[in-house]
């Protein structure tokens, strides 16, 4: 397999994952904000913070209100992580790897892209936002399903898995960070009720609510949520699970030593959080650390298999 093609497939999967995650986040935030008491200081702007995009946002917008944040997250073409930008990147990458993905992939991405682009106003206005985002999420899932079911699970597939799971692991740390950051903003006097709302929504952002309840057989409790999202060996969006999958994928590729070494070096600390107070600033720093390590993993993947720039 060509190095260039490997790189494009890796990014195709990363961007599909990013589109789905972004749509999911905005959709969950919508519901979260309805549930919060009026005097609680958690706002739409959190979404910008958790995507490490504050500077980019300030360049474009003055007011940190719902409309601007949603526009920035979904439609803004200056934001490289906005849903439409990411979707466009999926399309570009599939367009340039049409010779290796199943033929229907190209038709499907066109369909999803055209829908998302032509109806973007539905996403920005509130009244039909949920329907719109569900459509986009469904589109991403169809793409993933199509690839899973019809693409040869050869080297190209392993690169897609690497891309998908790396993006997923990264998003999981960001979703957790959003929860921690939100509660810190509530200045420590967050009630049990508020904590439950926030951590419940953290789970929902990752579609993890049901799995969490079934695995823990207990209430939504911040430290348990954090540990579940980081360490659970079965839930596909848990950080540890993603790492395991990346190791399995890397093992099937040639010249994998360096990359597997980096994967094995990333280890979430077991039972990191016991109390609510364990989820403060040090926890946020720790999550940030994991993101940096994922960045290093990406570098190792690129250096091993992708074309020399």
């Amino acid at each position: 397999m060509l190095s260039k093609v490997a790189e494009r497939l890796y990014w195709t999967a990363r961007y599909i994952e990013r589109v789905e995650n972004t749509a999911r986040l905005v959709s969950v935030y919508d519901k979260l904000l309805f549930d919060l008491p009026k005097d609680i200081n958690i706002g739409w702007y959190n979404l910008v913070v958790l995507n490490s995009a504050t500077e980019l946002f300030e360049d474009r917008y003055k007011v940190q209100d719902e409309r601007n944040v949603v526009k920035f997250m979904l439609a803004d073409d200056t934001n490289p992580s906005s849903m439409l930008t990411a979707l466009k990147m999926v399309r570009e990458n599939i367009r340039t790897s049409r010779d290796v993905v199943p033929a229907e992939t190209w038709e499907l991405i066109n369909e999803v892209y055209l829908y998302a682009k032509n109806n973007i106003q539905l996403g920005i206005n509130r009244s039909r936002r949920h329907d719109y985002l569900s459509e986009v999420i469904k589109g991403c899932q169809m793409l993933s399903g199509l690839l899973y079911g019809t693409m040869s699970h050869d080297a190209g597939w392993q690169f897609m898995k690497l891309g998908r799971d790396l993006e997923r692991a990264d998003m999981t740390t960001r979703i957790l960070d959003a929860g921690a950051f939100g509660l810190l903003q509530a200045n420590g006097d967050a009630s049990v009720n508020l904590r439950q709302i926030v951590w419940g929504n953290v789970l929902r952002s990752a579609s993890a609510y049901m799995s969490y309840r079934r695995t823990l057989k207990g209430a939504v409790y911040g430290p348990d949520v954090a540990n579940f999202m980081l360490e659970d060996p079965h839930f596909p969006r848990a950080f540890q699970f993603c790492l395991m999958q990346m190791d399995v994928a890397a093992a099937k590729l040639p010249k994998n030593d360096a990359v597997r070494k980096v994967i094995k070096a990333i280890k979430p600390e077991p039972r990191l959080a016991e109390e609510d107070t364990d989820l403060g600033q040090p926890f946020r720093d720790y999550l940030n650390d994991l993101q940096v390590q994922l960045g290093e993993l990406h570098e190792a993947i690129a250096a091993t298999w992708f074309p020399v720039p």
Partner: protein
Amino acid sequence: MDWKRYEPQDFFDELVTPAGNPRLPAKRLISYLGSLSEDEVESRRQMAEATIQEMGVSFTVYTEEGNIDRAWPFDIIPRTISAKQWAKTAAGLKQRLKALNLFIDDLYHDQKIIKDGIVPEHLVTNSKNFRPECVGVSPPFGVWAHICGTDLVRDSDGEFYVLEDNLRVPSGVSYMLENRAITKRVLPELFENDRILPVDDYCSNLFDTLVSLSPRKVKKPVVVVLTPGIFNSAYFEHAFLAQQMGVELVEGSDLVVNDDDCVYMRTISGLERVDVIYRRIDDLFLDPEVFRKDSVLGVPGLMRAWQKGNVGLANAPGAGVADDKVVYAYVPDIIRYYLNEEPIIPNVKTFLCEDPEQREYVLENLDKLVVKPANESGGYGMLVGPHSTKKDQAAFAKLIKENPRNYIAQPTLALSTAPTMVEKNALEPRHLDLRPFILQGEDIYVTTGGLTRVAMRKGSLVVNSSQGGGSKDTWIVETGEA
């Protein structure tokens, strides 16, 4: 849909006789479309449009404001040709490509045809596309042009004429295949009853042709398609063909020529030997060591590898020497010379501006002739006499006098027409041509039909998609004639 309202004009119409009756191969098509209501036809047309969007069938137009990706313009009413007539045409196309390949091989070796006085020497010495680097090279089977797109037109007498041969990097075949895919979705009922010959064996024939060029006699030679990249107007086609053949689509930067003068591609496991390259970039960009030094599209050392016989290149460098509108005028003689046969498909009458007598005639009749530069493609730099102003004609007269060898002229053909939907439920005749594709390696093959291109503007004769042309599916129909 009301066929009675369709009025073919004074041209040969592909579907309808002058009296307004359907031609034999179009009979079922016309009666079926006639049975559909206007709304139904309109909904089929919209379905075609949506299908094209979803299939992402597009081409790139270069404009001053940048490159625009346009949806492929498609007319849902197919163009029909009887299988009997096609068999004769296909034989003519094979004959022509065989002769052209013998001609190219001769030019790069003994130049017997020049010594025997059949074609003038300046045909080689003045040609922009003659490559001295190719002299003495002997590609497999003596074949240089492996993939040829020949443009055919039908004149008012109903006969096919060759308008030009494209021997460099002809494009359009993917659109021929996609047109059929679209029609099958939009008018599926017709494929049940009519005997429409399939077109989809092209890609496997292309693959076999390429494999036959492999220098290594291994079971599975490594074939790749070399594209200039995503910004090329035919990128869609490059990706399509690579995908259909199941081979890698590479850019110059993916390939490297090593000290052993073999070509390799950069893969995730290291370098892998490449046997055959279907290159979709022009000669001059192929190898910066030999041709344009500033080319970043090509591969340094590629010519070296090819000259040593370590890699197959399709089409071979230098094949374009026969893709020249002056050479075109000599093709009937070339066929007689090498094959000792009469040409099956005639040429269009061609005036060579380099000949003083013929030039005189051209200059006096600029308002009636089509003037073409010898080495351009895509319909650029042409003068269509009857549609030109006095000012255009004066400009061309000057160009011709300055560089007579660079121009040829042909009478304005009464190009055939076919019914085309110009707006909702309005059928009007539009001019069209046909580009079949011919493959030659170990074997020789012709597509079943080809790509029909339509000049969508009323009265226009320019069918190039870069200049507002559209296209139709082309049906070769078994009519049961003996």
